[in-house]
Amino acid sequence: MTLVIVSVLAFLIPYLGEGDAARTILRARTSNPALGDEAVKALSAELGLDRPMYAQYLDWLGNVLTGDLGYSFTSRLPVIDLVGSALWVSVTLAVIALTVAFLAAMPLGTLAATNRGGKVDSAITFVAQSAVSAPEYWVGPVAVLLFARQLGWLPSGGWSGPAYVVLPALVLALRPMGYFTQVMRAAMIDVLGARYVIAARARGLSFARTLLRHGVRNSMLPVMTLFSFWFAGLLGGAVVIEVIFSIPGMGRLLYTAVVNNDVPVIQGAIICILALAVAINTATDLLYGVLNPAMRVSHASA
């Protein structure tokens, strides 16, 4: 349903934008950049651009569904190839960044929750809030300046080896790390107050074992939800980081396409990013039911 709306909007981009829609579309469909008026007319008729809008939409949708997204205005390459390679880069970056964030947040959140109200808790919460408030277009350039230019430890941008991942992934991990920590802390506090934890302690389980067996496992659920949410977001939403570090991912692909008014690439990237977001969201919902039996019960009774 949503995907239909998104696809309609994406289809309409050439009609709503400036310039002759027919010409824009023809440039996308053929790989010939220069077209005379005669050629435009002939091709319009041939490709059915004089037909009603809905018929054109269905044609276009058929092409999209078969993987034919047209050709980029700027590079003359098929959009599907551009999107494919960019997606792979973005997935790699997002997975690494979120894993870092997750691994940092787990102990921090647990530590804060077990010291609730204490100095350690205050410090961790403050760090998490700072991380959340730090814009990556500020941390990024400063990090480049420090670690790439001054110290020369890491490359400042590009995408040609493991060393190129470190800096962008760390900067990118900062904000999700802050959110994950806060959610982990809140969830852990909830779990530690639950009856089954009291029961486990009463059974004689040590605090550490209780924490590991019940606490961490049960408080991971909300963090996992947030994880998938961020994963969907970072597939296309890491625009700023990808631009700063010249990483050829989805975000930068979309950004350069918007700047250059490269309509077919915009259409392809938007559809791909939003479709993936919906797919990941749905998958999370399903997974959530599997991981959390309580959810199923409450749904069944509702």
Binding site: Q129, A134, P135, Y137, W138, T225, I241, A302
Partner: protein, 340 residues
């Protein structure tokens, strides 16, 4: 009652407190909440006070910093040392001096004045967007909870889907269609931004709806809209306010991000994000050109986050697991930040 005890949100409805503590059969009844167990002073008002307290200094520091920022930005036309657009090309990229406290940028413009004027754009756009998001979210959320049925189902489906759209991508989408501009900027951030409010409001409304004073109002024959706007909205105010502060920082950062990409605030106007963009080529020689506007965003965002967290920690009735829209932890909804 000592002054520093937070005023119960349900002040107009004293019975609400009684109702809250008098229903131990409810899923998340006070006896089950972590505070009741952890605090030796767990008493009748514990559920009203909210769970734990955030260290009070965070709220104070946040409020102080935000007040300072707001006052400076309000007074900018009178206290700014220079015209932010005045170019003094002989003074390009100068370091801090008596005349230019924060130095000058690549066109010889006074950085401090530009920071102050730029902040007005950043904060105003973020605030305008936030108000729009909050109003739309509150109205739709309350409607969903009040009407229920198909409307509820459809609205919350929409919320689910919109929530998972990265906001920068939606903004780029709209910019591709309509071009850059303040309207596009605010619209883009509103489309993705109202959903957390709707989700929160719906959860709160459903919970409040189950209270006895609502039943009383219904028995008295109050019309539905009256109950929604007289009882549910005022009672939900504090959590919504907390959420607003928490979301404000995120909005500010996103506005800055779009400006940094050159797609937000357009010249001759300039905001903190655009200043960072301008500073980019000179970062190596003159780091403070980029550090200062970033710091401004960071400090402002952090102060609102601290305030929001302070409010959130004292917030009223913990939402029950079944009251929200498939929302597991109460702390999660406000923290659901979108992708960067």
């Amino acid at each position: 009652m000592p002054r520093r005890r937070p005023r119960p949100v349900t002040a107009e409805h004293p019975r609400a407190q009684a109702a809250e503590v008098a229903t131990p059969a409810a899923p998340a009844a006070p006896a089950d909440s972590p505070t009741a167990r952890a605090s030796p002073r767990a008493g009748l008002f514990d559920s009203v006070r909210g769970g734990f307290r955030s260290p009070p200094w965070t709220l104070a520091v946040g409020a102080g910093a935000l007040a300072a920022v707001v006052v400076i930005l309000l007074l900018t036309p009178w206290i700014a040392p220079h015209d932010p657009a005045f170019q003094e090309l002989s003074q390009r990229l100068a370091g801090p001096s008596g005349d230019h406290w924060a130095g000058t940028d690549h066109l010889g413009r006074d950085v401090l004045s530009r920071l102050m004027y730029g902040g007005r754009f950043s904060v105003t756009i973020a605030a305008a967007t936030l108000v729009l998001c909050a109003v739309i979210g509150i109205v739709l959320g309350a409607l969903a909870a009040g009407r229920g049925g198909i409307l509820d189902e459809l609205l919350m489906r929409g919320v689910d889907v919109l929530t998972c759209f990265p906001d920068v991508v939606v903004a780029l989408f709209l910019i591709a269609i309509f071009g850059t501009g303040y309207g596009t900027l605010v619209a883009a951030l509103t489309i993705t931004g109202w959903t957390p409010f709707a989700r929160l409001m719906r959860g709160l409304a459903l919970e409040i709806k189950s209270k006895e004073y609502i039943e009383a109002a219904e028995v008295l024959g109050c019309p539905r809209w009256f109950i929604v706007f007289r009882h549910i909205v005022p009672n939900a105010l504090r959590p919504v306010l907390a959420m607003s502060f928490l979301r404000f920082g995120h909005k500010l950062i996103t506005v800055g991000a779009l400006s940094y990409l050159g797609l937000g605030v357009q010249p001759p106007d300039s905001d903190w994000g655009a200043m960072l963009l301008d500073a980019q080529p000179y970062m190596e020689r003159l780091p403070w050109l980029g550090v200062l506007p970033g710091l401004a965003i960071f400090v402002t965002a952090l102060s609102v986050t601290l305030i929001g967290q302070g409010l959130e920690n004292r917030k009223l009735p913990r939402r029950r697991p079944d009251a929200g829209h498939a929302e597991p932890a109460s702390a999660e909804a406000p923290l659901k930040g979108a992708g960067p």
